[in-house]
C-alpha cells in the first residue's frame, strides 16, 4: 500500500494536501478547513449517520467523514446549496427531539446548538414533532435524557472502541430508534463511570454527569463567542 503518498485536492478553490487513505474530513481538518460534523469524533471509527458533513465531492454529495479523499478531488464545502442542506439536517434534529435549550445543562457547550449558530439558523423550517422520550436517571452519577439524544452513536462507538465494553446500544428502527443501556435496570445496571469515553462522547445534553452543569456563566461557555470550528480554521496560515 502506498499509504504515505501525498495528494492534492481542492476545497472551495483552496488548494489542500492530504495523505492517501484519509477521509475528506480528516484532510480538511489538517488543512485548516472546517467541515461541520456531529457524529464524527477523531478517535472513533466514523459513523456516517448525521450527514451534517455532507460536501459535494467531484459533483456528488458525500459524507466527508466516511469518504476517502482522492487526488485532484474538487470539493464544495461552502456553497449555498451545501449550507442549506446542512441547515435542513440540523433543523431536522431540532424538531425530531425535544430540545429545550434554555434549560439544558449543555447549552452553550452543545455541538448541535453551536453548528446551528454557525449556520445562523433562527428557527427550523419543519414542524416540531414533540416525541415522547424517556429519561434514564437510575444511575447516581450520570443520566441519559432521551429527549435530547440525536442518535449520533458516538457513545455507542466510544463504549465499544475505547472503553471496550459495549454497554450502550440502539434499539428500535426508523423514527423509533433510541439509545439504551444494556440492563433491565437502566444505567444503574451497567458498569459506567463519569470518566468513561462513552460519557464524554456525547455532543449534546443527552448524557450528563450529575452535579457538573451550569458551572460556567453565560458568556464564558465554549461557543458563546467563538463559532464551533474556529480552532480548526485557526490552523490555516493564509
Amino acid at each position: 500500500m502506498m499509504t504515505s503518498e501525498k495528494i492534492t485536492f481542492y476545497i472551495d478553490e483552496i488548494e489542500c494536501t492530504a495523505t492517501q487513505g484519509q477521509s475528506i474530513l480528516e484532510a480538511a481538518d489538517e488543512n485548516g478547513v472546517y467541515i461541520p460534523r456531529l457524529c464524527h469524533q477523531p478517535d472513533l471509527l466514523p459513523g456516517g449517520s448525521c450527514r451534517v458533513c455532507t460536501v459535494s465531492a467531484n459533483g456528488r454529495n458525500q459524507a466527508a467523514c466516511t469518504t476517502p479523499v482522492a487526488n485532484d478531488m474538487i470539493i464544495e464545502n461552502g456553497s449555498e446549496e451545501i449550507l442549506d442542506l446542512r441547515r435542513a439536517v440540523i433543523e431536522m434534529l431540532f424538531i425530531e427531539g425535544n430540545h429545550y435549550c434554555p434549560m439544558c445543562e449543555r447549552s452553550g457547550n452543545c455541538e448541535l446548538q453551536a453548528i446551528a449558530y454557525r449556520l445562523k439558523i433562527l428557527a427550523p423550517r419543519f414542524p416540531f414533532m414533540f416525541p415522547s422520550r424517556k429519561l434514564d436517571a437510575t444511575h447516581p452519577g450520570i443520566f441519559i435524557d432521551g429527549n435530547r439524544c440525536i442518535q449520533c452513536g458516538r457513545c455507542v462507538r466510544a463504549a465499544q472502541q475505547i472503553d471496550k465494553k459495549p454497554i450502550l446500544g440502539f434499539i428500535g428502527r426508523g423514527g423509533a430508534v433510541r439509545i439504551k443501556a444494556s440492563s433491565t435496570e437502566g444505567l444503574k445496571g451497567v458498569d459506567i463511570s463519569p470518566d468513561d469515553a462513552c460519557v464524554k462522547a456525547c455532543p449534546v445534553g443527552a448524557i450528563i454527569v450529575k452535579d457538573t452543569a451550569y458551572r460556567k456563566p453565560i458568556g464564558e461557555r465554549m461557543f458563546d463567542k467563538q463559532p464551533i470550528g474556529s480552532e480548526i480554521e485557526a490552523r490555516r496560515t493564509s
Binding site: Y100, P102, Y117, P124, P131
Partner: protein, 179 residues
C-alpha cells in the same frame, strides 16, 4: 407620514421577552421616534386602535384565548414576529406536550403530592387549555423568528431596525442564541 405602529403581546410566555424589549435601554427613545406603540402590555393599551406594521409575539399557544389573540394579531399586523423560544417552539410550557392533557390536569390538581382537596378548575371565565402547547406558526403564519430565552435586547433592536428600515438584518454571531 404617520409613524408605523407596533403591537406586542405575551401569550404562553413569562414576560421575559418583553423585559428584553425594555432592555434596549436608551434606544427605546429612538424606537419611540421611529414607531408608535399600539396594543401592548408595555403601554397597557388593551385593544387595537389601528392596523399595525409589526406585531411582536411572545409565547406559544397553550389555551384558546392565546389562539384568539394570536389570530387577531395576524389580522391586524402586516408582519408578525415570533419573539423568543416559546413563541418559536412552545418553550418550557411545551414540556407538557409528551403527556396527555388529562394526565397533566390530574397530576396538577388531583393526584400531585402537594394537593389537598383537589379540584380541576372549571370556572367559565378561565381560558380552556389546548391539548398541547402550539408554536405560533402552527396556528397562524409567522414572518420572522427571533430565537433566545429571552432574545437579547441587541438582537431585538437589530431586527426591529432592519424591519422598519426595510433592510436585511446581518446578525452577528454573538446575537443568535437559543438560551
Amino acid at each position: 407620514m404617520a409613524k408605523p405602529r407596533i403591537a406586542t403581546t405575551s401569550l404562553a410566555g413569562c414576560f421575559g421577552c418583553h423585559m428584553s424589549v425594555l432592555d434596549i435601554d436608551e434606544r427605546i427613545l429612538k424606537l419611540a421616534e421611529l414607531v408608535d406603540f399600539d396594543k401592548s402590555p408595555i403601554n397597557d393599551i388593551k385593544r387595537f386602535s389601528a392596523d399595525c406594521a409589526v406585531g411582536l409575539i411572545e409565547g406559544g399557544c397553550c389555551n384558546d384565548e392565546n389562539v384568539e389573540i394570536l389570530r387577531a394579531f395576524r389580522k391586524r399586523c402586516k408582519v408578525l414576529v415570533a419573539v423568543g423560544e416559546c413563541a418559536l417552539m412552545g418553550g418550557l410550557p411545551a414540556m407538557r406536550n409528551g403527556v396527555p392533557l388529562k394526565e397533566c390536569l390530574r397530576e396538577a390538581y388531583l393526584d400531585g403530592p402537594s394537593v389537598v382537596d383537589g379540584l380541576i378548575p372549571a370556572d367559565a371565565e378561565l381560558p380552556l387549555l389546548l391539548d398541547q402547547v402550539y408554536p405560533c406558526n402552527e396556528v397562524v403564519k409567522i414572518d420572522y423568528y427571533l430565537p433566545g430565552c429571552p432574545p437579547s435586547a441587541d438582537l431585538i433592536w437589530e431586527a426591529l431596525v432592519a424591519l422598519l428600515t426595510g433592510n436585511d438584518a446581518d446578525l452577528p454571531y454573538e446575537l443568535i442564541k437559543y438560551d
